[in-house]
Symmetry: C2
Subunit: 409 residues, 2 copies
């Protein structure tokens, strides 16, 4: 159907388009495919019973308020709870440092709106989170990729990037999406030092920080930055905008996340959100607060950790058994993804095509590299599928890889 809208798109829209990968990934939605492509939490760990209790409690005691329009910055008791939680794990902030967003994706979009002019440079890890690239491409961002390895961003290569004059540094220090890597304490400290040296602020995206299955918790970048700027290092420095979410701790279907920023940035985020969607669902904020307020999350996260650790271990065990020589993979200390590395010259998009025929899927790694590269890498999710499904899926993927490698020889 030709409509008068067809020639009326804005410049920013004309660059949007379906990608080859997007089309391939649509195939992975067929019900008989074992998909390690998504980034979904395990639905088995959603606290359905607690949600029912909370919905009933909220509607019995706060029905009219919870169903009404509410403030753009978010439900104050929820923001205060997040402030207490942040003070416990990291640095002292108040509710005035916090805005609730409809998922972390919205926080990324708003950061783009607030800060990115067409042509601005953003320092990112390579590979990095695809959703951030999608959000910021709309504002005409350009990227300075800094390579990363199993220990996160290779900070020795950061200084050259900072000398280009980027708007900010974007980093996912814990169990990164897509690579599963975790930035070491030494590298975090170096990152903070270099950012300070060049006066460049940081956006720290931390959706998975609580999902650690082994090793010790590493202090967040926001905390290290505040300490570095001392003398009162337990107080938020304002140099790092920090993002986290309830999507992995409670349930993504609520679309609840938060951003921590200086009050002046929060004020501008609030104006942005007012024009974008007025506010995040009041009902969901009341319900999440009710579920979380009594310390439930501390217990619940243990269940999630145990579930995902088992799935990660099963996946790695199966890879050791089924994957051919020459294929490597990381062992992430937490999160939801591991990273597969094929022999140089192999193309994971070709692997995906063959894998789909065998009814198994993953995401080819190239798309996560803002300036290209990584054709031989793959993101593999271990949180969503049951251990048995993981066994079957990795068996199929191993067969696919063995076939392709033997054809090549």
């Amino acid at each position: 159907m030709q409509t008068p809208w067809e020639y009326r798109y804005a410049h920013r829209t004309q660059k949007m388009g379906s990608s080859v990968i997007r089309e391939l990934l649509k195939l992975t939605e067929q019900p008989d495919i074992i998909s390690f492509a998504g980034g979904l939490p395990a639905p088995e760990v959603f606290p359905v019973k607690e949600f029912r209790q909370a919905c009933n409690y909220v509607l019995e005691h706060f029905g009219p308020q919870a169903l009404q329009y509410s403030t753009t910055e978010g439900y104050r008791p929820l923001r205060e709870m997040i402030a207490r939680h942040t003070a416990r794990y990291s640095v002292a902030v108040t509710a005035d440092n916090i805005m609730i967003t409809s998922g972390s994706q919205q926080a990324l979009d708003f950061i783009g709106r607030l800060f990115i002019n067409r042509g601005d440079y953003i320092v990112v890890e390579s590979p990095t989170y695809l959703g951030a690239l999608q959000a910021w491409n709309a504002y005409g961002a350009q990227y300075i990729p800094v390579r990363s390895d199993e220990n996160g961003m290779i900070v020795d290569e950061l200084e050259a990037a900072l000398r280009i004059g980027p708007k900010f540094i974007y980093v996912l220090p814990n169990f990164q999406n897509p690579s599963g890597s975790t930035l070491t304490l030494e590298r975090r400290k170096k990152l903070v030092e270099l950012a300070d040296k060049y006066g460049v602020p940081i956006v720290e995206d931390d959706p998975y920080g609580q999902l650690r299955y082994e090793g010790d918790h590493i202090p967040s970048v926001v905390m290290l930055d505040s300490e570095y700027r001392g003398p009162n290092g337990s107080h938020y420095s304002g140099n790092v905008i920090y993002l986290s979410t309830f999507s992995k701790l409670l349930a993504p279907g609520l679309r609840l996340a938060w951003v921590i920023a200086p009050p002046e940035v929060i004020r501008k985020l609030v104006m942005t959100k007012q024009a974008a969607d007025l506010h995040t669902s009041s009902f969901n904020q009341y319900v999440a607060y009710e579920v979380a307020k009594g310390g439930f999350l501390d217990e619940h996260v243990k269940v999630i950790r145990a579930t995902y650790k088992e799935r990660r271990d099963v996946m790695i065990e199966m890879m050791e058994e089924m994957f051919p020589d020459g294929v490597r993979w990381t062992k992430p200390q937490g999160g939801m993804f591991l990273w597969g590395i094929l022999p140089e010259g192999m193309d994971s998009a070709e692997v995906l095509k063959r894998a789909i025929e065998k009814k198994v899927a993953f995401v080819p790694g190239e798309a996560f590299h803002p300036n290209g590269g990584g054709k031989n890498t793959m993101r593999i999710n271990f949180s969503y599928s049951s251990p048995d499904t993981i066994r079957e899926g990795i068996t199929r993927l191993g067969m696919t890889l063995r076939e392709l490698i033997s054809e090549k020889v």
Copy 2:
């Protein structure tokens, strides 16, 4: 606190700022003020019991799905229900014409993103919905205001506007926010004719269409446009993007609205939403579907109509009694707002200052006029306050107006 973010805002952000009106309206949030300033539904009519039943049902039967990530376009049964509803009231569309948004404000924002280049002209009624201006200002829109009266946009003045070459026409035909006016059938037909003559598409924003308290339903612009383009006029023409919402029929705290557009526009809206917030809360979509699916809304809207009609009638009765000569007001056939018109030369922002001293508030009309004007107008909400509160509030507002007018003489 000075932070490195301060000099890093994008151009589009630097124009954002707190307005005088915004600051004044903050004062109206004091609990002892009777506020006719907001645009809130009456919380007494929220179907709390039905929500409880629906939450329990959804969590019992669909817990894992309802709490999981879901598709960007929205929950298919909900979209199919909206398609059936639209076919009943207006034109034949399918779920492929529909995307769920987080409130209509988000649909307005996305329309701006998709279509507005800096400097593009949009034809709007003057006055028009402030949220649309806020959303589109961010994309650098300019406005061609067409004057309106109690019968909506004065379409005789539309042709000159269309010759300027606007991107689209934005119109709220039913019980408009802020003026309460309703576009007559004759004017709707003329609007459709002129839009066709110049090949300019239309965005029809219809949050209040079901909230009619007297008179006959007038066919929507999307329906008239489809008929005009016949021969198969019962099918959606694609020329009108139509917006509506559950905020006024169920509850705004859910943040659930929808947009009807040609499938190609929907595809681009989906890509936009994917980068903006991934999807609207799956849980809320399941719950709204459960509440609405059995025809509940048809019964519930009768309760809303009866409640709001009484409030409108009480407000007008009190205005007749308490407002001084020279002050006029409209009698809207539906919706949530009526429009006060002060004698020429009076400034409603000055009235608001004095009114706040007397603990009553409204919104001065000037802000709704994209290119200025309307200093002597005021938007007055009648849906939120109880009849007794309306009596007291209009008494206070009448005293304020009498004082100011007598001081002037």
